[in-house]
């Protein structure tokens, strides 16, 4: 990535509260690359008609303790 773009991205990330490492974004380049590969694999899964799972109990909340 060109240096100017990196600096701009760093500024945006800092603005968004993401802790940019002391060595700048070059330091997290391998992480970014691994993430891109992971996202690309997820993009191959056809999920257009699938509703996301959400953090929720698998059964309705209890009315009273079960023990």
């Amino acid at each position: 990535m060109p240096e100017d773009d990196l600096l701009l991205l760093e500024a945006v990330l800092r603005w968004a509260g993401v802790p940019v490492p002391p060595g700048g974004l070059r330091e997290v380049e391998p992480i970014g690359r691994a993430l891109r590969e992971r996202f690309a694999r997820l993009d191959t899964v056809p999920v257009e008609d699938v509703e996301p799972a959400f953090i929720a109990p698998l059964v309705p909340p209890p009315k009273k303790p079960g023990r």
């Binding site: 997290v28 899964v45 698998l58 009315k63």
Partner: protein, 477 residues
């Protein structure tokens, strides 16, 4: 095994009994809880310097609890199978008055004011806490290394990884330093050390056991459960800790059955699905052991068929995206300001979480739903799914990569490839030893069941153990 007067094991031999065996001896006062605990503490003193299973040994607490149990049993107040039985808790479990580090520098001096729910339930059942076990930093990582506390070591070969993140619990149990080592499992952290150390590791159904008071890694993927030497012991542990907890909104209000009673050996006709894709991901020696295990299941009466779950790899990716996004939120209070207090694995993962766009978190949750649908369809055809717990046996401590089917892969990414999908689905899964490599390292078999059918999973695993010798082998220590 050396036996004393009246058929009572002497010295450290008592440490390798099963829980029902030691419980019988305790109940009939053939041996006292203080003797049992002292034998374990002696073993910890002898083995922990080389295996590094414990971050904190709670000798004083243990002896105090043992004396209390001794008095109660003498008065005829026997609380059940766990009364006077030594257990260990992963150092992620908050324990009142006992340092809880989460394997980190951040919480190096954290002394909780309350017990977590599981610690409280084990104490109520009369169990004795011998110590807090080694964990990878904040439970991030399936290897069992820790930059702050050094690596835990595999009892079968100390130059190999024990697996993680519940590394110390796996080591402690396999090496006879506790009957139960409690662990947590966000991507395989109970099952991986169980597989690498030759122990049993149970990840119960999501919502069956309270996570309240266990340091969070990922709310929607975290599970807590026991590591033991036998399936029977895992059933005893589960019975003591399962059930609704108002402090954990994910726990369900269900009657807790007797999991021990479920181990009746009646497995005839149970439909077992061997996961083809999981087998294809494993190295040859592991695959052979798993296929032989499946043959044993067929011999004891199960109906075995091969089944397909093509989403396995994508599911593992989705699990990572969800885990590190949630972890980044859980660590928001420390990571931005104390980045340098974290080790490299944690830094990498928390940074991944911070750099993950919300749209990909939701995409991962869609893949999760899709996986759930596929698995639900499969679970209509079969009663349990089986496959290798890990693609390979324990790598050496100095190995960062392994060669897997001709590809060089990072241990930190690949070790949990086959366990992560079941954290997405929340199904009950148990890992049981199913053989050894030519180098003498244990191999794990993973058995997954339908939601809330933890008893059936344990039943199948127990029937397998009854037909095989692996759980009776102990590391030469």
């Amino acid at each position: 095994m050396a036996w004393g007067k009246g058929g009572v094991p002497v010295g450290e031999e008592v440490c390798l009994l099963t829980i029902p065996e030691v419980a019988r001896l305790l109940r009939r006062k053939a041996i006292s809880p203080v003797e049992v605990v002292q034998a374990h503490l002696e073993r910890v003193r002898r083995l922990n310097p080389s295996l590094n299973a414990f971050i904190t040994v709670t000798e004083e607490v243990a002896l105090q609890q043992a004396r209390k149990a001794e008095g109660a049993i003498a008065r005829g107040e026997h609380l059940g199978m766990l009364h006077g039985v030594p257990v260990a808790l992963k150092d992620l479990y908050c324990t009142k008055g006992v340092r809880t580090t989460a394997g980190s520098a951040i919480l190096a001096d954290f002394v909780p004011q309350e017990d977590c729910t599981v610690a409280r339930r084990l104490a109520q059942a009369g169990a004795v806490l011998v110590g807090k076990t080694h964990t990878t930093e904040f439970a991030m990582g399936g290897h069992g290394k820790n930059i702050h506390f050094g690596p835990a070591r595999n009892p079968w070969n100390p130059s190999h990884l024990p697996g993680g993140s519940s590394s110390g619990s796996g080591v402690a149990v396999a090496a006879g330093m506790a009957y139960i080592g409690m662990g947590s499992d966000t991507g395989g952290s109970i099952r991986i050390p169980a597989a690498f150390c030759g122990a049993v590791g149970l990840k119960p159904t999501y919502g069956l056991v309270s996570k309240a008071g266990v340091v969070v890694l990922s709310w929607s993927l975290d599970h807590v459960g026991p590591l033991t030497r036998t399936v029977e012991d895992a059933a005893v542990a589960l019975e003591a800790i399962a059930g609704y907890d108002p402090n954990d909104p994910a726990t369900a209000s269900l009657r807790v059955p007797s999991y021990l009673r479920a181990l009746d050996g009646k497995v005839k006709g149970i439909r077992v699905g061997l996961l083809r894709e999981a087998l294809e991901e494993a190295e040859e020696e592991v695959g052979t052991a798993v296929q032989q295990a499946v043959e044993v299941l067929a011999e004891v009466g199960c109906q075995v068929e091969e089944v397909s779950l093509p989403l396995l790899r994508e599911a593992a990716d989705a699990a990572s995206v969800i885990a590190w996004s949630e972890a980044a939120v859980a660590h928001a209070r420390w990571f931005p300001s104390r980045r340098d207090d974290y080790g490299p694995d944690c830094k990498e993962r928390l940074t991944q979480g911070l750099l993950t766009p919300a749209v990909y978190y939701l995409k991962a949750q869609r893949v999760r739903r899709l996986l759930l649908q596929r698995v639900q369809e499969l679970m209509e055809r079969v009663d349990v799914l089986v496959g290798p717990t890990c693609p390979y046996a324990a790598p050496r401590l100095d190995q960062d990569t392994v060669s897997l089917r001709g590809r060089e892969v990072r241990v930190v990414d690949s070790v949990s490839l086959l366990t992560r999908p079941f954290n997405l689905t929340g199904q009950p899964v148990v890992s049981v030893p199913c053989g050894f490599t030519r180098a003498g390292l244990p191999i794990g078999l993973q058995i997954a069941g339908r939601w809330w059918e933890d008893g059936l999973v344990l039943k199948v695993a127990h029937a397998y153990q009854q037909a095989t010798p692996w759980h009776r082998r102990h590391p030469p220590l």
